[in-house]
Structure formats: C-alpha cells, structure tokens
Point group: C2
DNA sequence: CGTAGGTTTGACTGATCTCAAGTTTGGTGG
DNA sequence: CCACCAAACTTGAGATCAGTCAAACCTACG
C-alpha cells in the first residue's frame, strides 16, 4: 500500500488524540491495525441499510454521508463525514446497519475488521474511551440535527449545515472555515435539511443576498462568520470539540 | 431507601441483560452501585442544557424526555425515555450537557455519580459493552428521528412516534403495545414531531377517523397495529431490540 | 460541440401555521 | 356534591412558507 495511506491513517490518530489522552503504546497499537486501503468513486454506496456488516471504515480523504429512506422513497441524510471520521463504529456492537453510508466525493477509506477494533478497545482502555466518546459526540450531533430539521426555518437550516461543515472541516485540519470547497450538490443539501433542491437554491441565494456568503461554483466563502452564526443559530458547543 | 427502589433498580439490570451477556458478578456489581433514589414531580428539569453534570440518572419509573431549544425559543424534544433507561450516560465522557432532561410524568430516578459508573465499566467489560451498545442504539434512534422530522408528513410523524412509544414501552416490560396510557400532552407530541399542537390534534383525529387508534383521554388503543405501522412507515429494526 | 448533471427562475399549489373562539377534563375548595 | 378554575383539547378561517411543475441556463467533460 502506498505510503500516503499511512500518512492519512495518522489523521485518524490525530482525531483519537483530540478525543482522549493516548500514550505512545496506544498510538503504536492503532498504527499496527491491519487495514485495507480502498479508493472509492463518488456517490458509491459503502454500506447498505439492512446489511450485516463486520467491517469498520475510516475515512482517509474526501467526504461521505449517511442516509436513510422512507418507504415512499424520501431520502434523508443524517450526517456527513470529514477525513479521520469512523464511518460505522456501530458495527462493533450492532448487527445490522440501520442506514446506508455513501461517498459524496471520491474517497479513500481504510477497511478494518470490526473484531480487530474491538480487541484494540479491550486491550487499550484509553482507546476504548476515545471511541466511546466519539459515539457520544456523534449522538450529540444527531440531536442537533433533529432540532435543526424540526424547529428551524429553511434559511436557518441551510446556514446551520454550512456552519457545521465549516467547523468540522476545520477541526479535522482541513483548513480555514471561512473559505472552502463545498462538496455537496444542492440536492444533497436538500436531503440533509429536509427541504427540496429548489428551495435550497433559493435559500443559498438569500444568504448570498444577505451578504454572509459568496458562492463560486462549489466554492463557498463565509464573508461574515459572526452574522452567519447568528442567522444559523449555530452554537458549536454540541460538537464537543477540544477547546 | 424503600425496598421497591431495589426492585425498580432491577429494571436497569434487566435492560443491561437485554443489551449484552452479564454474569452474576456483573449483576452484583451493578446492584452494589451507590445511588440516591429521588422522587421528581412532573415537568421537572432534571438536567439543564449547558450545565456541567457529574451524575448519571437512571429512570426507575415514569416517563421523561430530552429537549433542546433554538435561540428564538422553539423547543424540540429529541427523545423520550421509559423505565430502565439511562438518562445521561453521556456525562460519563462529555463535560457539558448539550440538552436538557425533563420529567414528563411524576418520576422516580436513581442518581449515581458518573465516576462510579465509569469505574464499573472499567472493571467489568461486559457492562462496558452493554453501556456502549446502549449509546449506539440511542444514536440509531436519533437518526430515525432526523428521518421522521425531515421526510415524513405530519400524520406519519405522529403515528411513528406512537409506534415507537408503544414498542419501547413493551421492550421495557411495561405491558402491551396495543393499549396504554400515553403520558404526553399534545403540545409535547408537537415538540417531538416538529409540528404545532393544533396540527397534532388534527392528525390524531385523522388517525382516529382512519380507524387505527381510539383515544380516551390520555389512553390510546391501537386497534390495527399492522395498518398503523404502514401509515407510520414504522420498522422497528432501528431500535435494535433483542429478538 | 453535444450531452448530462446540476443550478436558477417563475407561476402556482398545498400542507402546515397562526390566531382566535369554544369545549372538555380534572382538580380544589366551599 | 357542586361550583369554579386552569390546563388541555377541539374546531374554524385565513395566512404563509415551502413544495411542485416546468422551462431555461450553466458547467464540466468526453
């Protein structure tokens, strides 16, 4: 496997380090995990809802999301993911995937048998702690999404999503939250916010007109981060990021 | 403390037993946890958003919920809880509460210092597993709520909520899912589904007219469980309940 | 260039909200 | 046992935010 995969794997260690206090032996144990690196094209279904899954994936590069669908075909994205994120930690302890995981962009993932991560957690309490903490933070983000979709109006929802994306990107060391390539189509934003693509388009235009963002194809610049957070009702406390 | 608290505590052990495989020593360790039993009136705030929390609460009897609010005062209930549930496992590993916990009915809780539960988990891997599994199931429920609020129409949302309540009640050994006392006011249902109380009222009336439920004050009878599940688009897989 | 996927815009529709007025229920005190 | 009160529930009419449908316009890419 190419050396830059190991570099990328260090993204994961970086994240664990943010989540708890690892010592050198912990880090070494993570580094020695057997894994298979895999390149995945955009829009590819990595995990299918209902499947029995025995692997865990770590996102090395690119962006991914998880989604669920209603009987009538409505699609709801329930979270998006940045490099370093574990895409399906839940397969450590739950049998069947209750949702699908899909790449947004081209993506590089490390596939690790769940059993290995489980053993790692059993032998390294600090890692177990970090992983558990990660599950709890994820849950907190889901709660915020319930609030976002349930009680904010369309403009706020879209703005909130942009704020979260900008923040999490930054926390993952992917650069400034004020100017970045936004990888999702307006249809995907719609699926994440419980809106229609047409209305998302209008809300983006409204934010643009408000002077808080400037769009250039898929590049977004947040020109007034303070006002943007106000409009979005965004308070990053729920991300429980290291200070 | 009255003896029925210990009985009620066994509700929690029952739940852990459903979540994993405990041996007698595990159970004994749980039973010997120091805890303070507390009676709480209805509508009481047990945990306040933003607070630093060092205790975990277990719900012994009655119903509770968690909620978040927007800047503009919109309130969103993000989950409800049945006896045996741990109300704030997250305080084991996260500093500040990102949401509030409130009793719905009169409630009896066991308050346990988080540190004790943490130590219990460290010394009893089976319990750590069960607790972690519980966190993951909670996260799955949040994902379903995002879908519910984001992509289902008003009637489906209300129906789905009733189905989940009925199922979780039953899983917690609180009796038949086909006829039960429903503890939430229509305003609380509204806050859980992202609707207004007025519209919840109309949707309940519609479900009644459809012949799938019969209401009698706060008592609900689901007269056609199969059709109710269809209307609600309810598939209990996401609850990851023991078969 | 031609095509496909994505974005933008306009006109119309409709589900849900808002406001406001009753009605029922349950608890409390006389 | 009844009268009263607050809280919760119900119903109606009108307003509005977001959805639908449909067409036109970009942009990247083969």
């Amino acid at each position: 496997m190419p050396s830059n995969d190991n570099d990328a794997f260090s993204q994961f260690i970086r994240k664990l380090d943010q989540l708890g206090t690892l010592n050198e032996s912990d880090r070494a144990a993570v580094r020695s995990l057997p894994f298979q690196s895999q390149a995945v094209p955009r829009h590819y279904l990595i995990v299918r809802e209902g499947e029995q899954a025995t692997d865990c994936c770590i996102l090395l590069s690119g962006y991914a999301c998880r989604h669920k669908t209603t009987q009538s075909g409505g699609r709801q994205i329930v979270s998006f993911h940045v490099p370093g994120d574990i895409l399906d930690l839940q397969h450590l302890l739950l049998d069947r995937a209750d949702h699908s995981v899909q790449s947004i962009t081209e993506v590089r993932i490390a596939v690790i048998p769940a059993a290995h991560i489980k053993r790692l957690a059993e032998t390294h309490p600090a890692i177990a702690d970090a992983l558990w903490r990660d599950s709890l933070i994820e849950a907190s983000i889901f709660r915020e999404w319930v609030l976002n979709v349930g009680r904010r109006d369309a403009k706020q929802r879209v703005a909130h999503m942009l704020c979260e994306f900008a923040s999490r990107r930054e926390n993952a060391g992917q650069g400034s939250p004020e100017r970045f390539e936004f990888p999702m189509s307006q249809e995907q934003i719609a699926d994440a916010t419980g809106l229609t693509p047409v209305h998302v388009n209008r809300m983006l235009a409204a934010l643009d007109k408000d002077g808080v963002i400037v769009r250039n194809n898929r590049e977004v610049e947040i020109t007034d981060w303070t006002r943007m957070q106000q409009i979005a009702d965004f308070n990053p406390a729920y991300l429980h990021a290291a200070a």
